[in-house]
Structure formats: C-alpha cells, structure tokens
C-alpha cells in the first residue's frame, strides 16, 4: 500500500472547557409553551425545522419529581401510535394542531396530565420507549425522555415559532409566578 502523500493529520480542534457544549446547545433552540396550570412544555427546534417536544422543568411532573406509572399515546378519539407514512415527504403522517393531545401521563399518586403537541405540524415519531420505561420522562426530560418529534410545515414554521416563548420570556414568566405565589 502506498503511504498517503500528505502531511500527518492536523491536531484536533482544541477545546479546553471542562464540559463541551451539549448536543442541545449546539444544534437546538429552546422554546416554551407555558400554561396557567403551569403544565409547561419545552420544544427543541433544530435549524432544519425538526421539533423535539419535551416536558419543561417547571411542569409539576418534574417540579414535584413525580413517579410516573404509565405514558399512553392513545385515548378515546385519538391514537398517536397509529401513524403510518412514507418517504422524504412523510406522506400520510398525522397533521396535528398545537393544542392536540400527544400523550397522557399517569402518576403513582393518581394524578393525570395530558401533554400536547405545542406546534402545528406532521407527527414524525412518538417516543415509544416511554411506554416501557415511563420514568425516563422524569429522569431525562430533555434527552431520552423526549415525547415526540414533529415537523412543522414550511409555511407555518415562522408562525408556530412565534406562538412559543423564548428562553428569556420563559424565565421572566417563571419569575412572575414566584412573585404571585
């Protein structure tokens, strides 16, 4: 085998911070859907429009460190598991509104929460792991415990992003709640 004609590899890009920026920090923008019952949700949006829907830290599920017994993606009248589509254009995927229910979470204390889509778009995937391991929702809410992936339509994308709160607005909202209580 002929050796490569070129100089040995350049040194790797140096990065001396203790912790490198995370996947979310590198690729996603955080946006929030807040709610007067404080059932807040987080939407991670990639620069390619793909949205990962999660539970926000201020949601009672996380705030109160609930123990989740089940996550259900289908109830009377809707079923997010029944979602067959094909190809690059995801033809046939369910089109959901921002207020459409995504899943229902049941906790060991008997409380139930309905989590919603937050953005209008095509449902690409629900996190089926939550059915087997519902506690992921609490342990890794912004990682393996994500709820679903939604792809907003190109036309509505800007509009959908505007109806969500930025990180700054979300923090202000949390401050306000602290004052009010």
């Amino acid at each position: 085998m002929i050796e490569s004609d070129f100089e040995s590899p350049l040194p790797h890009r140096s990065n001396h911070n203790d912790k490198p920026p995370s996947v979310i920090e590198r690729y996603f923008k955080k946006r929030y859907k807040t709610d007067n019952k404080y059932e807040d949700q987080l939407v991670l949006t990639h620069s390619n429009r793909v949205c990962v829907v999660c539970v926000a830290n201020s949601h009672p599920l996380i705030e109160q460190k609930k123990s989740v017994t089940s996550v259900s993606f289908g109830e009377e009248g809707w079923n997010r598991l029944d979602n067959k589509f094909s190809g690059k254009s995801k033809r046939g995927a369910q089109w959901l509104d921002c207020k459409a229910p995504l899943c229902e979470v049941t906790c060991s204390d008997g409380t139930k929460y309905t989590l919603v889509c937050c953005v209008k778009g095509q449902l690409i995937e629900v996190n089926e792991n939550l059915q087997k391991t519902p506690q992921l929702l609490i342990d890794k809410p912004h990682g393996e415990g994500y709820l679903a992936v939604i792809l907003p339509g190109l036309k509505w994308f800007e509009h959908e992003m505007k109806q969500l709160k930025s990180e700054e607005d979300y923090q202000n909202e949390l401050e306000k709640r602290l004052h009010n209580s």
Binding site: H12, N17, V23, N48, R49, V50, K88, I124, N129, G143
Partner: protein, 546 residues
Amino acid sequence: MIDKMDMFSLFTRSFEETKEVSKFLHQIGCCIRCILRNLGELNPASYKLSIEELENMLLPAESRTTAENVCPCPGCLGILQKFTETAFLNQIYLKVKEDGFQFSDYQCSLVLPVSLIVRQKALYIYLLNKFGETYKGNEDKLASVKDVWKWSCGFKLANILGSRFQNRSQFDILMTFQYKDSDKECAFLLDYLPDVFKKRKQRKFGFETFTRANVQKAVSDMTYSKLQDCTSCPPLIPTVECTCDISCSHEAVFIAGRYLKFSRELSQTPWLIDGKRIMEGSVQELICEPIIQMFKPTDHKLSSSGREDVDVRMLGLGRPFIVELVNPHCVQFSLEDLAALQKRINNVSKDVQVRDLQIVSRKDTNLLKEGEIDKTKTYTALCWCDRQLTEADVELVNSLKEITLQQKTPLRVLHRRAAATRERSIHSLSIKSLLPNNRFTLELTTQAGTYVKEFVHGDFGRTYPNKSQILKADCDIIDLDVEAVNVDWPPLVEPIESGTLKIENGQDNCLNSIETRKDNCVDEKETKEICLNENETVTKSCKEEG
C-alpha cells in the same frame, strides 16, 4: 459506361431493366442516389461517386441534372441532393469550428422527417406494381437515406474536418432535418388508426402526433392496397425544401480520484438555503473548477463514495470520487496533463487535496456505486464523557466487536431523509487514549451509512445501543475525522512529473485539430478546389475497384 455498371450489384436482372427502372424513377422526380438505392445497391463505395458520375452511368444524356431542373427528390426530400453538397458540408465545418470541440474522429447522426417512412413505402409499392418480379420480397433490402448520406458524405466531411469518420465515435455531429409538410403527409394515418394517433395529441407526448415508432408500425401494418388508397404512389415531388439544424456533442468523460479535506468549515457541496450561501466554497467547487477549465464541459456532476459533514475532516488516502463531465469540448490529455491538473487543484486551497486523479470509463463508474453498499469506514473521534474513564472502561469498550445498532434517522437529517429505523454495524471499537478533562479518543470501523456522531451521543436515545449507554454516562463527540473509506477504487496512481505542459492555454490546444486547417470554407475558390480534389480521389478509387 456500360461495363462500369458491373461494379453495382442490383436487383434488376438485365442492363435494359436497370435503364427502365432508372427511367421510371427519374420521371417521378427521384434523385440519382435514390435511384441507385432503389435499384438495390448496398455497396457503400458506389455512393462515393459524384452525382454527375452516377447520372452518366444510369441516365440518358437528356435527363441529366442541370442547374435549372433540380427539384427536391420525393424519395429523400433533397437530403441526398442539396445536403450532400460541399456547401452544406462547409456549413457543418463552420458549426463544428464555432462550437470549439476537440476530437480525433467523429460520427454522424441524422434525424429524418417522419413522413419519409411513408414516402419510402409508397415508392416501394410503386416499384412493386411496375416491376413485381424484380421487387417482390426486397423491401427490407434497400439502403436507407441515412446510410446513403453517410456513405456519400462521411469521407468527404472527414477531409473537410481533418478528422476520421467512424460508425461509432465519442464525438457526434447531429443533423436534424425539418420538413414542414411532414405531419400533413402522415395525416391520413389519423383517420385510419384514430386510437393510436389521437392519444398522442396530449401534453405528455409534447403534442407530437406522429413519431418514428408509431408511423413505422402503422405503415407496416397497413396492406399495400390500403396504402395506395390513402397516399400517392409514387410519392409526389415535395413543394417545400427541408431545413437542417446541426449540433455537436461529445460523450461524457469521467474523472476519478480521491480527495482529502483538512478543514472543519467546508461542506462537500455548495451550502445554500433559499439561494443564500451559508458557507464560502465547497469541496465540489474546489475540485471541479480547474477540471472544468481544462475540459470545458457544458455541465458536470461530482459523486463520491459517501460524504462527510461540514465539520468532519477526511484524512488517510481520501475519499473516492468521480466527476462526470457532460459534453466536454476538450478531451485529448496525456497522463502528464492529468498530473498537472491534479497539481493545479491542489494549489487552489490547502483545505482540499486530491490524489490518484485519472480518466475512467463509464463502465468503471459503477465500481464506485457498488463499493458504496459493502464498504466500511474507519474514524477517529474525540469524545467527552460525563465522568473520568477508568482502565476498566477501556477494557470493556475494547472488548466489544460487531455491535449491531438500531439507528433511527438522525434528527439533523430527518427533514430530508425518510424516517426509518436502520440496522447498522460497528465492526470494531477501541479507546485509543484517555485525555485530560474527561476526554478520550475513540477509533471505530463501521458499516457504510452509519451515523457515527449519533452513535456517540445517542441522539435522544434514538440510536441504540450508543456510547452513553455502553459507558452508563453521558457521552458526546467533539471532533470527528474519517481515517479511511475502505474502497479499492479508483486504482492508486504513482505520482509522475507533471513537467511543463501546454495545458495552461487549453483553449488553443483544444482547437488544434481544426485551426491547423486552412480557413477554406469561406473562400469560394478554395471550396471548389477541395471539391475537385475530392472528385479526383473518387475517380482514382473507382478505377482501383473497377
């Protein structure tokens, strides 16, 4: 004259009959080449004779062509008359020169008016009616207008172009003959077979009702008597002349090689969103620009054995690629020329270097695509872990072999790729070194199509198993290098001295073959000279053959 007729091999059984058939064909307006081909002559050499020579042999003196009595032939629409003259061949020469192609030999393609099919059939029926015994069963044994044109003009045009005429060549001169009355002359078919032809009046066929294929089929399906009822047998003398569009093209040339990329801020293809450039330059542009300057194609396409992300370097021997050059104008280059081209590409930017640059055949390009399926790739990744790794971790990771992943389409490409869970293999995996600040380097060899970044950070658990799960701690990837794309193609090229070559002005080089010829087609006198010379050679060759 009569003894010269022996050089032909015709359907007719006697010289008298030949005269008779010739007379009839002449009476209905046929040109001398159409007469000869409808007599059954199939020897290409016979058609090298000039119109005058042929007429002297086959027609009585009073019937011979003069400048006054020429009209377009009903058998070829003038394609074997006016369009075989030196004036027309000079038009071709001018077009070829204008387009600036470089070639050593050439081929001709003729696209003929569709109604010529009907005319040929009508002419045959006419002959069959007159000379049944002679023509019965010989319909398919007549030389076509296309072939006769090539036999008559191929060598003549070769002399004018200073090139060689071939039946198959990379360089094609396409002549498209337009005949205004073509559709009109086929119109009776619409009444006869409305189902076949009405359907064609749709947008998807470009509103083209009559095509070569459907007219050919319809005409051969119709009985002779039916055809005689529908169309004139013999065909009438055309009232309009054909026109001809000439265009030149060269078959695609493929350049293969391997590229290395040393930048983490360079994408493979131009990165545009809504027509706005996100990042300056691209591997594609850096490689292709010098190639285009040299080969002057009308279009080009880079394909490679996979691709790496913007922030991933491509090291080792590089990644195999092919540049397809569509319709290149310059093609005659030596190994030294290619070595110089490689050098030039490598001088464009330090970020991209190429090696093993070579011209490959179209057939060989399949090897790149075949390799795509079963190739493996070797990577080095600089990773980070949430906790300090121990020797035990290293041992655990290094003991893993052949890990099968279930990889959901990564979120970062989900917008443009189908959503699916794909099975991919990590063939081998080892931690090469433990670094400060919880960093380590990982070397891995994977199946083609494995997303390595996602294997390390897990992509929200969507690639499983993943590095985070194996080490039971959050992992992330900081930098990635492709060390090898394990494909044995293209062959390695031993570096050669590129020397001092004249490619610097490829344009001059490219026109060499044609520039060296005198600018003779503009000058009428010289044109005539060529014509005379041609005739001399023809007579000579005739004598030899006779």
